[in-house]
Structure formats: structure tokens, C-alpha cells
Symmetry: C2
Subunit: 396 residues, 2 copies
């Protein structure tokens, strides 16, 4: 048997093809209201201080602390300052100024007496308890000085980051553009979701699931095409896809049958189509069409999902700044057999820190895969792994 | 000091107001391509078997195992069966039928010989190695029998669930409708994102962050309004909001100042507006306007975020089937002081399993909150928590 490329070798090829164009993704600018979950490409900083002006922390009275040191004391009130646009004002000596929470504290005042510590009287307000200088005053810049980074570059924007950006006066944020992914599922037997089936036909799974996997990995799925096994139809779909996408994923048509449309069209364009030492997911390919990377996945729906997860998920998540999904070592609940020479990704579920294989190895077991939550990574050199052994488990 | 309502008491009131209408959310039907992350409200089941027909697992030749028991053997080939819509056919005795992966296996055949184990010859194909009955044949129903639940009710749809639904012939799925949330941020001092500021003015934070928090919790933010402290303007915004939303959130206007628009408008309609024993986030309210729940949050942006996280996040996530965010016990890196009688939610960051308070207790520290990843829950009865103590920590 000829040497088959290993999973790591193929992963390296896919990364070399897909990584650089995704890393060159230009920025786009989005309003704050549409920026949740996007990733900043530069720091967001304050221009002025935050808060932008000295303001009251409580509803109450702005005062000079030195004038209310002995209580009770009654002082006249020089009007009211709501929280609103206001001319700058000065607190006259021997006076109070009624202030609402968030209102500018007038020059001259150095504290705010909470309304609960006062009583209104004829001719003024009685202050019942003194407060210290600075009490209940939020100084300008006490949250952030001018030029402070409030959200670092490469931050996935959570609501609290949007809050800080909004406070800093930012209305739009430059974020990484989401990679645009086009999916082309091939196969004469494939019909659209829900259509009636003749003998020999199956419903499209790959278009649906690869589109969803790309979205889940942070990309934008810009088209999903189904094409029969006719080179001209696939060529047309491919020509459209490379016009609108940063990455094209194909499913099917890369195996050893007589009607392998992806192989037939792409090999003359220099595609690398091969069998790799992996199960499910042996037939794989890569190509570059008019500068756009094309990654060719096998057509069995389980193989396509596993291949996406192993080869493409890390690259797309990395490109949009999502954290990597790390494999974890876990004990195996039941022994498994594996074809020697192929790295096998069995579907499994994790319960109480132990991983149980589910379904069988068949790449048509789409329902069994829906019930899985991890892939169990069985090394190529193993043909048997005993129950209780520690295996590497990749969360789905 | 009068008894202030506790956090748990207020949480109970908010849940009693908001929970039942959200639990009554009707279903909506979405196509598979738009169903990622949505939550099913009923099981998705197969009608027929999966695979729908017996098919070839490999490219090769359908055969009768009994006729190829002694190898090598040369048999004539009765044509080719691609993976495509086909009339049912029968394998003539003493023949092979060339089949592509996924193609129907003809009646009479009970195995598939992989193409790699054969050689084409004049007058037929030489089978080099025998295979067992059943080899490389996927039986109809081997993934799922008719009537099998492929995705349970109340499943948050991951790509692999969409794959199983697609395979089962489902084109649209009934999912919970996302609760529609309208946000009304109040305050004469609040200007839209990015607008220039006069003295006394600040940029809207609450509209931005409450809209984003609702989206993050699985809801759909259908409107964000900013209104000045004028009852008529707030009434107009409220009238619009209750027309289009399942839940209205207001920010600000529930405190003790002279311009408390939310309190002024809603108290005559039976609103419950009160101070609760919590910091930040003392002033809180609830109301029902034309049958639509209205939850009134304080206007300080940190208070508003904390209040949403404590009172509303669990309800919205529960309504759309997102898993709860659980508090975890962690050791505290540095001592904290807290006002006795108020449950305090300090902002913190977790590093190496230890929680560090960040920023101060001030409810205007929006930038400090952006750098936090948890809330530290300091009980109402504590006025001091020593470094090294175990505290309850709520992830943001």
C-alpha cells in the first residue's frame, strides 16, 4: 500500500492554503448595535476623560465641605442642577446647589450631601450630617483618563465591552470581516431539504451542515449550492463561488468512482486530491481557483463533518478570534477496534468524565453523530484501545 | 431604616412577572439554514428509514457472496449503478453490478466488493478476494428506523442536529420564538453613540449594553429608544414598545431625584418601584403595561448591567433553552469591604482559580467593568470579607 498522507500533513497543507488569505482579511466597520461577538482589530481608546465631567453620585446638594462641618446647619439653595446639558456654573459661597445623580458638580463645591441627610426648610435646606471633602463626587477621569485603552485589539466584543466603547464616545468599531464561505455539495443523488425522494436519492445533508459549521466557527456562509455529478454544472457553481467567497468548501466527488466531478474539474487546474490516512474522511483535496482557496471534503455526511472539524474549524475560529477548541484526555468507557494505519475519529459522548463511543464507525451514521458531543481520536498505529485507556477527545 | 426588599425577593417578583409570558412564547417555523442555535419545541423524527434504501459503502461491485467464495473468479458485469435516482433492479445470477458509493444495491446482491479488490478483464471483472455476506452494504434503517427521534425537543440546534434533521427529510423546524425585547434608556443627559457632548451630557451606554445583553441571552432586541426626562416622550416610547415587544426594559428614572420619568409615568399605572438591598443597583421596578411586562432598571450603566445579569439573564436564557450560567465558589485574592445590609456585586477577574476584585464599587466605572469577567457576590450581612475566603462568583 502506498504511503498515505497523515492527518497532520494534510492539516498543514490546508492551513498553508487557507491561513494566509484569511489572515489578510480586511477590516470592516460596524455600528455598536451590530458589533456583539465581533473581534476588534485595533484598540478602542478614550479621547477625553471618563466620566467626561465631575458629577454627582447621588441625588442631593452640592456643597463646600468646610461650610457644613458643624451640623445641623441651614444654607440657602442656589437653584437646581439636573443631569442635562448645562452651562458651567460656580457655587456661591455659603450656598448649596441641588443636584441630581449624574449632574455636573459646580466649581467651588467639593462634596455632595445625599438628599436623605437633609430637610427642606423655609429659606433653605438643613444639612443633618456632615460629609467629607470628595464625598459622593465622581471626578472627571476617575473611570478612565484620556487615551486609555478601554477595549484591547483582538477582543471578542461582549456587552460590557460595547458599554465601555459607547461610554468612550465610539459609534462604530473596526472589526475583522467574517470570512465568506461558499459551499458546493455534489452528487446526482442529492435533493434539496424536504423534497420527495425516489429510490437512489437522499436529502442534502452536506450543504446544510457545512453551512452551519462555517457559521458556528465565526464565518459567514454566503451560498450553498447543490450540483449533480456533471462537470459543467460544478464549473458554473465554482465560478460563482470564487466570485463571492474567501473560501470554497466542496463535498463529495473526490473519491475513486466513475463520476467524481470535483476531481475531474479541479485536477486539471492543479488540485491536490488524495486519500489520507484517516477514517472517516479518507478522500480529501485542496485547490486554488483564481486565488481563492478551495477545500474538497468527502461526500459522506459524517466524513464531511469530521473533516471540517479537524481541518477547517481551527483555521476559521482563529481567523475571527474565537478561542481554540482544545482536545482533552479522558478515560474510554469501552474498548474500540480501529483499522491500523488510519487515524480514526469515533463519535462519543462524555458522561461524568468518561467518554463512551456511540454509533459505529460508518460514515453514513448521521443520526448517531447528532447524539454525540465529542470525537474520540484513535491514533493511526492503534488497532485496539482497551476500556479504561486514556484517549484524546475533541469537543464538537 | 425601613426593610428593603432583598435581591432574592426582587428576583422572585421579576420572575413572576416575566416568566409566564415568556413561557407562553408561541413557536415559529424556520428553515434549516436559519435554525442554528435555535431551540426545538418538539422532537424531530424520521418518517422512513435512514438510509432510505440499501446502498453501497464503497465504489466497487455488488455481488452474491456465495458466488465469489472461491477467488480469483471472473464474472460478467451487468452494467453500472451510479448514485442517483434509479428504477429498482435485480442482480442476475452469476453477475456483478458496478456500484458507486451511495448507489442502491440491487436485489439479489448481498455484498459489495471494493474496486481495489478487483481487476477489469475482457468479458468481465476478476474478483481477487472474497468478502462476507453484508460486507460494504449499508442496510436501509441501519442509522435510524422509521419513527426514530433524531433530535429531541428542547435541543439547542448544533450543526450535527441540523444534519440529522436534513437526513430525515425535514426542511423547516418548529423552534421557540425568541423573546422580543424593547429597551428604553432615559435621561436628559444621554445622547446617542458618538454624538458630540456638551457639559453635563454623556453618551448612551444603557441602550447599547441592554440591547446587547438581551441578544446575548438569546432574545431579539427589537428597538432601543433614548428618551429625555419628559413624561410625554417616555409615554410615547413605552406605547410603541409594548406594541412590538414581549418584554420592555427601561433604564434610569426610578430613583429619588426630581426628574424620575419612569417612576412618574409608571407608578400611576400600578408599578412597583422600590430600593432593594443591593449595590450597585438599588433602585428597581416592575410594571405591566397592556399585559406586557416592564422591568425598570437603574440608570447607572454598571447598575443596569449588574441588574440585567442578576434578574433577567436567567429568565431569558431559560426561555430560549440556553443552559443556566452557574455561580462557582472561588477563593478571593484580596480583602473587600462592603456596606452591611446590602448584597454587593463587585466586579472581578479570575486568574488561576482565584478571583481578584477589579475597579472600585462605583456604579459609573464602565471601563473597569469591561475588564472584568465575573461578579463577586458579597452577602448582605458581610461588611468585610478576608483575603482567601471562599466567595460565590457569577460569570459575566
Amino acid at each position: 500500500m502506498p504511503h498515505r498522507r497523515t492527518v497532520d500533513e494534510h492539516a498543514g497543507r490546508v492551513a498553508a492554503l487557507v491561513g494566509p488569505p484569511l489572515a489578510r482579511q480586511e477590516a470592516e466597520t460596524v455600528p455598536l448595535a451590530g458589533a456583539l461577538g465581533r473581534v476588534t482589530i485595533e484598540p478602542i481608546s478614550t479621547v477625553g476623560p471618563l466620566p467626561p465631567f465631575r458629577n454627582a453620585q447621588m441625588d442631593g446638594y452640592a456643597a463646600r465641605a468646610s461650610e457644613i462641618r458643624r451640623t445641623p446647619v441651614v444654607l440657602p439653595v442656589d437653584g437646581v442642577q439636573p443631569a442635562a446639558a448645562s452651562p458651567a456654573r460656580v457655587l456661591p459661597a455659603g450656598h448649596l446647589l441641588k443636584v441630581m445623580t449624574g449632574a455636573p458638580v459646580p466649581d467651588g463645591a467639593d462634596c455632595v450631601v445625599p438628599v436623605e441627610q437633609t430637610v427642606e426648610e423655609d429659606g433653605g435646606v438643613r444639612v443633618l450630617r456632615a460629609v467629607e471633602p470628595g464625598a459622593f463626587v465622581r471626578e472627571a477621569g476617575s473611570d478612565a483618563l484620556p487615551g486609555t485603552v478601554v477595549v484591547p485589539a483582538y477582543t471578542r466584543l461582549a456587552p460590557r465591552h460595547l458599554a465601555a466603547a459607547a461610554a468612550a464616545g465610539v459609534a462604530v468599531v473596526p472589526v475583522r470581516r467574517r470570512p465568506r464561505v461558499a459551499v458546493i455539495a455534489t452528487g446526482a443523488e442529492v435533493v434539496p431539504p424536504g423534497a420527495p425522494l425516489a429510490l437512489g436519492q437522499v436529502h442534502d445533508v452536506n450543504g446544510v451542515v457545512l453551512g452551519a459549521l462555517a457559521e458556528e466557527a465565526g464565518a459567514e456562509t454566503v451560498s450553498v449550492d447543490l450540483t449533480p455529478d456533471e462537470p459543467a454544472a460544478f464549473e458554473r457553481a465554482l465560478a460563482r463561488a470564487v466570485e463571492i467567497a474567501d473560501l470554497v468548501l466542496t463535498a463529495g466527488g473526490v473519491s475513486k468512482g466513475d463520476f467524481e466531478v470535483v476531481r475531474q474539474v479541479l485536477e486539471p487546474l492543479g488540485a491536490d486530491v488524495t486519500e489520507i490516512a484517516m477514517q472517516p474522511g479518507g478522500p480529501q483535496g485542496t485547490a486554488s481557483v483564481r486565488g481563492v482557496p478551495v477545500v474538497c471534503l468527502p461526500g459522506n455526511p459524517v466524513s464531511a463533518q469530521v473533516s471540517f472539524t479537524v481541518f477547517l474549524r481551527p483555521l476559521l475560529r482563529g481567523a475571527v478570534g474565537l478561542p481554540p477548541v482544545h482536545a482533552v484526555p479522558l478515560p474510554l468507557a469501552a474498548a474500540v477496534h480501529s483499522p491500523r494505519g488510519k487515524r480514526q475519529w469515533l463519535r462519543g459522548v462524555v458522561r461524568d468524565g468518561v467518554v463512551y463511543p456511540v454509533g459505529g464507525p460508518g460514515s453514513h451514521l448521521v443520526v448517531a453523530m447528532a447524539g454525540a458531543d465529542v470525537l474520540i481520536d484513535v491514533p493511526a498505529e492503534a488497532d485496539f484501545v482497551a476500556a479504561g485507556s486514556t484517549v484524546s477527545v475533541l469537543p464538537l
